[in-house]
């Protein structure tokens, strides 16, 4: 096992305001990276700007990040940050602004960096310090070294590196209280995918499984309530947020498996929100994994107290009624996208070759 999580994480009510002094360690000028409106609605952006002002830290806001953030938007943010002479970045929002903030921190320190070099992890200078403030309960980006950024060809690709860990992450579950039902559901199943994929991942260890197990034990009952239409109360929001952190830490050890890389297709081609997109493939992944690694299946049942049928039933209730159709020939044409060497597939139990990927695709693209 390799374990490396050099971030500082502070979670709890009001943590941004009560730990504002920690921000001054990172410099005097800050670029805030955020999305459309949710960071404003939930109060996180106000807390961040108030904390920065209290510390007399100058800031400017770049709110040009959208869902499935593009590398172009990161390069634009990096330019704004460099022009502002930002000493550090604060990403505020769900997975998209947090992922983008990581890459923008690289771009600020490396203004000449171009798209290809960023995906190849080729940059000369260490990124400026990264501070993250999560406002959804799912991505786990607060505690991972990964940013998933859409390239100029419309493909979601990872930028990953130890440089991309946050120096400081804040998690205040109250920010998640204003999430619409569909966002609670989509981000929640993203966390469920993180935990489940990590649990089954070939490099899983006792430590990563401890984190993934607890995440699943928190998520399934909470998401069952979400599925039945109950509006989460403060305690359920805390559970969901904790589970998203547990899932993020678990994949920081193991990475994700097939559902994540195959799910990108649904986001790119059909605009399916990331969590739903991965979850569309989760049941097929679990069924495959159960057969390929029966000893892990026993562990999964013993540790989490869940069986796959319960998760399948939960997903059926939570996921929108998608009806995608592709012919057998169309599916075959997609397969070269996922060679066996894709890390997510290499980590999937058994041998996740084209035949297996096709069964996953078929489970979604029913003819």
């Amino acid at each position: 096992m390799q374990f490396y999580m050099p971030f500082r994480l502070i979670t709890g009510n009001n943590v941004v305001r009560s730990n504002g002094a920690a921000l001054s360690a990172f410099g005097r000028r800050c670029l805030i990276v955020t999305g459309g409106s949710s960071a404003k609605t939930c109060g996180a952006l106000d807390d961040v700007t108030a904390a920065l002002s209290e510390q007399n830290i100058a800031y400017t806001v770049y709110d040009g990040i959208r869902q499935n953030p593009t590398m172009a938007s990161c390069l634009a943010g990096g330019q704004i940050g460099a022009d502002f002479c930002a000493d550090f970045v604060v990403g505020v929002g769900g997975g998209s602004p947090l992922d983008a903030a990581k890459v923008i921190a690289v771009c600020i320190a490396n203004p000449e960096a171009a798209e290809d070099a960023l995906y190849r992890l080729e940059w000369a200078n260490r990124p400026v310090p990264i501070v993250l403030v999560g406002t959804t309960a799912g991505t786990g980006s607060e505690v991972t070294s990964v940013a998933v950024i859409t390239n100029s060809e419309g493909r979601k690709r990872s930028v990953r590196g130890n440089d991309l860990y946050a120096a400081l992450s804040f998690g205040d579950p109250r920010y998640t209280a204003t999430m619409p039902h569909a966002v609670t559901a989509s981000t929640g199943v993203d966390a469920l995918c993180h935990c489940a994929e990590s649990f089954w991942s070939k490099p899983a260890s006792d430590v990563s499984r401890a984190l993934a197990t607890e995440g699943i034990r928190l998520l399934v009952p909470a998401l069952e309530q979400v599925a039945s239409g109950i509006t989460p109360d403060a305690q359920m929001r805390e559970s969901l947020y904790s589970a998203s952190i547990l899932g993020g830490m678990a994949i920081s050890v193991t990475g994700t498996c097939a559902p994540h890389t195959i799910g990108y297709l649904l986001s790119e081609q059909y605009g399916v929100p990331h969590g739903f997109a991965c979850a569309c493939f989760l049941t097929a992944f679990l069924r495959h994994s159960e057969a390929a690694a029966p000893e892990v299946a026993s562990l999964f049942r013993a540790k989490t107290g869940m069986d796959i049928a319960r998760i399948e039933s939960l997903l059926q209730k939570l996921l929108p009624p998608y009806h995608f159709h592709l012919s057998d020939a169309e599916l075959d044409a997609l397969l070269p996208r996922w060679p066996l060497t894709v890390p997510n597939l290499a980590k999937t139990p058994g041998t996740c070759d084209s035949a297996v990927v096709k069964t996953f695709l078929r489970s979604v693209f029913a003819e």
Copy 2:
């Protein structure tokens, strides 16, 4: 919750030899800090010296660390390291050499540091990088920022600080295979205390409890086998080692509770090995905590699948048949040692005042 674990941990068979190249990041001259003979017997010391030689890193060995290591021995090691111009230290062994290596790293960078200043965490320069190679399954020192060092008055006191996290920790469970039965038992119950105390600690979070829960689930059945006289096989050694890491990470979040601080007394005055010393107070601590925090008791049973009676019965089989006797007046005379402000007591469920501490002491010092 605050989570900060900036170390890199690599565990598995042969990790020292197969990751030797990672050592060259820390410099060209190394002080190895170790104890009497166990690091030699188990092969860890040979692996470390071979890895250093392969990297052309000059080293010298300081093997002056004994159980319950003294500050004098740390100061002596610091002098040797400074004279050798060591760029970094590698601690090899159980909790004693690992804890000592952390303080020696401070002393090398601060040759003028004296005992009092070290306990007050007052040092001008950052310690030289710390590499740790654990050879027991209990301490968790590989993943904590704490060193427990005996002062010149014979009292065990903590030196704790983010500077004391290892830059790199190696854990090869094969090193634990040569531990004598009593060491397996004592270090194993130390890990059990870490997990149990952390689970019940007031600052416990979902993350720390996930780690502690998994530790307990691994430890109790494995230690039941140890108690029944079974010699651990490789898989059981892996479980015990994993559990010690899980326990170390859990207390990195929460710290320990009453059994640890009260247990120091038994090590100082009666030479009881650290793990046994803490475990002597564990049952009384759990009984107190169960009454003081019934909601945590429910969580404990639900998550770990254990009840306190099972742990009590396990400890009765594992602990040597100690018979300590102190009168009521003698116990009263000890109480000022543990004011309510001791962090371990403040974190213990309920109010761990003198009356409670006395019940803990009475459970051991039966008249």
